[in-house]
């Protein structure tokens, strides 16, 4: 941006740019990012290497450096392993369902359709509604005397859904898929706007049926959106808390639906081992970053 014949720039412009006031306008947001994101991340890492615990206000306590102890404890903790396994179970159910349904629904909603607003709103409604409210309904639907068992009768599992070791996690995954799907439909709808109509026309000229053009035009055309959807779903999957806390009564039965964040709450805040909980958080964050990078590499290479 070469600007000719400008008056000689003043010192403040040389330091802060053409509009120094921009620094002042952006400063509150930068302070927010430092206080709420940057500093806590550093603190989490610091805590994870120390025997950190809560003491009475004002008390001078020693919180010794303990190296990787918190990390090795976490990796050897059966509850944490179970929580990680549950994240895997969650993702194995949630990601294929989310990607498949969201892409098909977005494609459908992208065509001329009667009552399109109604359809779009229906699928989006769970996303804007509080988890706590929706869990109230699911508790009623899936309890032992609930509507689901009333409909399928004897075919229901015993013990019933939410207190069944096998079914607790799948129900949580189905709940999360239903709740989040509308958002991912929108991500795909946005991506579909960028797939050129000419590609569909060309595919039609080449004699491709609609299924084939879906396969060969739509799916590759929205590939970067698929990467985004999978990364976001992974982040959500590593973060779920409300579902095991409320829907399966505290990660039950017997810890079968424990999630990493629920474990962090129990260990860090209820059991007063915040250093240990911070280590779990760091492991998870690293895991999410690694999984995201791998996804990106696998999905976006040619």
């Amino acid at each position: 941006m070469a600007v000719a014949a400008r008056p000689p720039r003043r010192l403040i412009n040389r330091i802060a740019g053409r509009h120094p006031v921009g620094v002042a306008f952006a400063a509150p947001y930068m302070i927010f990012l430092v206080v709420i994101y940057a500093y806590p991340i550093i603190l989490a890492i610091y805590m994870s290497f120390h025997d950190y615990f809560f003491a009475a206000p004002g008390a001078q306590v020693d919180r010794p450096f303990i190296g990787l102890d918190n990390y090795s404890t976490a990796l050897g903790d059966p509850a944490f392993r179970r929580a990680l396994l549950n994240v895997v179970v969650f993702l194995v159910i949630n990601v294929p369902l989310t990607v498949g349904l969201a892409l098909v629904l977005a494609s459908a909603l992208n065509t001329a359709l009667p009552f399109r607003t109604f359809f779009r709103s229906s699928y989006y409604l769970p996303y804007v509604t509080a988890s706590v409210a929706l869990i109230g309904v699911w508790l009623w639907l899936f309890n032992s005397d609930g509507l689901v068992n009333a409909i399928i009768g004897e075919a229901g599992p015993d013990p019933t859904w939410l207190v069944n070791r096998f079914w607790a996690m799948p129900i949580i995954a189905f709940f999360a898929t239903w709740k989040q799907l509308g958002f991912y439909v929108l991500v795909y709808l946005a991506a579909l706007q960028n797939v050129p109509q000419e590609l569909y026309d060309a595919a039609a000229v080449d004699g491709a049926g609609k299924l084939r053009s879906f396969q060969h035009v739509t799916v590759p055309g929205v590939r970067s959106a698929t990467t985004l959807v999978i990364i976001l779903a992974t982040i959500v999957g590593a973060n779920f808390f409300t579902e095991p806390y409320l829907l399966t009564g505290g990660g039950g039965p017997n810890g079968a639906s424990i999630s990493p964040v629920l474990l962090m709450y129990q260990e860090g805040i209820e059991q007063n081992k915040p250093g240990y909980a911070a280590a779990i958080g760091v492991i998870l964050a690293i895991g999410v970053v690694v999984v995201s990078l791998v996804n990106r590499f696998l999905l976006e290479r040619d």
Partner: protein
């Protein structure tokens, strides 16, 4: 676009819709094509009804005197309808107080987002200053920082260091600026030609005057969008206010209702009636706001996800 759609051997009714031109032309369809269309619309409608059913069932359940979990209970029975469940949840939770807490929490987050977010979005879009690229990158990184990494240190800072447990400020702080809203503001101001602001500069207006008299007055549509995308976050948030509130007087409705579900419900006469009444009250503001501004909501999320 006027081409007739060819009948083909596609089986999948959903996939079949994909390559269709966007203009509707039902009368040009072959009979087989019409049946596929009927099947397709039936699937889509069935899916929508499955998605909506829990909402319907929530309201039906909230209005039943005796909880009826049978199939017949899914249809309202006039002799079994009551508003007592709302009275019950109101006495159990102090509903006005919980709604007030939710309202203050949400309003605080919206206020912080509008003030700090608008300033940042305007600066990022229209002002050239040192560090602009850095601020923008920081904003994008924040969108993917998982909350579980921040949860414990934020708890230590806000509850232990600053003593903000059981305060509205403590609830608001971690959410004070919604990153999506900053993005909305930035996108909005990017569309405004720089000349608009330069003209005011040539007229001798100070940067603050330009902000107050030019930027803010034209940004009304972006303000509404920002309010919409921000609202559902704090209104629906459970984990953070749950962590930092022990006093029932300070709990937002989502937390109060969750505590009712996990502690009190076992002792109540018609627990599901009261739970569903509370769930209805919690759901209604977000749902109504969404339905009223459906188009804007969708556009905002479409716009911010394109990046």
């Amino acid at each position: 676009m006027a081409e007739t759609i060819q009948a083909d051997d596609v089986v999948d009714p959903l996939g079949a819709e994909e390559a269709e031109p966007r203009a509707d032309q039902p009368e040009l369809r072959a009979p087989g094509e019409r049946w596929k269309r009927v099947g397709f619309l039936t699937c889509l409608t069935a899916g929508a009804l499955i998605f909506l059913f829990p909402f319907y069932y929530m309201i039906v359940g909230a209005l039943q005197t005796e909880p009826n979990p049978d199939v017949s209970g899914a249809f309202p029975d006039p002799s079994n309808l009551t508003l007592d469940n709302f009275v019950d949840i109101n006495t159990a939770l102090n509903l006005p107080r919980a709604l007030l807490n939710s309202g203050i929490f949400t309003a605080g987050v919206i206020l912080g987002t509008l003030v700090i977010g608008l300033l940042a979005g305007y600066a990022l879009a229209q002002l050239e200053f040192r560090g602009r690229g850095f601020v923008f990158s920081a904003m994008l990184i924040v969108l993917i920082v998982p909350f579980q990494l921040l949860m414990i240190p934020l708890y230590v800072m806000i509850v232990r260091w600053y003593g903000l447990a059981d305060t509205h400020l403590g609830m608001i702080l971690p959410f004070a600026v919604n990153a999506t809203a900053v993005f909305v503001f930035r996108q909005f101001f990017m569309q405004i030609p720089k000349d608009v602001f330069d003209a005011a500069r040539i007229d001798g207006a100070s940067e603050l005057q330009i902000l107050m008299r030019v930027a803010i007055p034209i940004s009304k549509p972006a303000l509404l969008t920002a309010v919409l995308v921000t609202f559902i976050g704090p209104w629906n948030e459970f984990l953070w206010p749950f962590l930092i509130t022990k006093e029932t007087d300070m709990q937002p409705l989502a937390v109060a209702l969750a505590n009712y579900i996990s502690n009190v419900a076992a002792r109540a006469a018609n627990p599901f009636g009261a739970i569903l009444a509370g769930a209805t009250v919690l759901a209604i503001p977000a749902v109504v706001l969404f339905l009223a501004f459906q188009r804007k909501f969708v556009q905002a999320h479409l716009g911010s996800s394109v990046k």
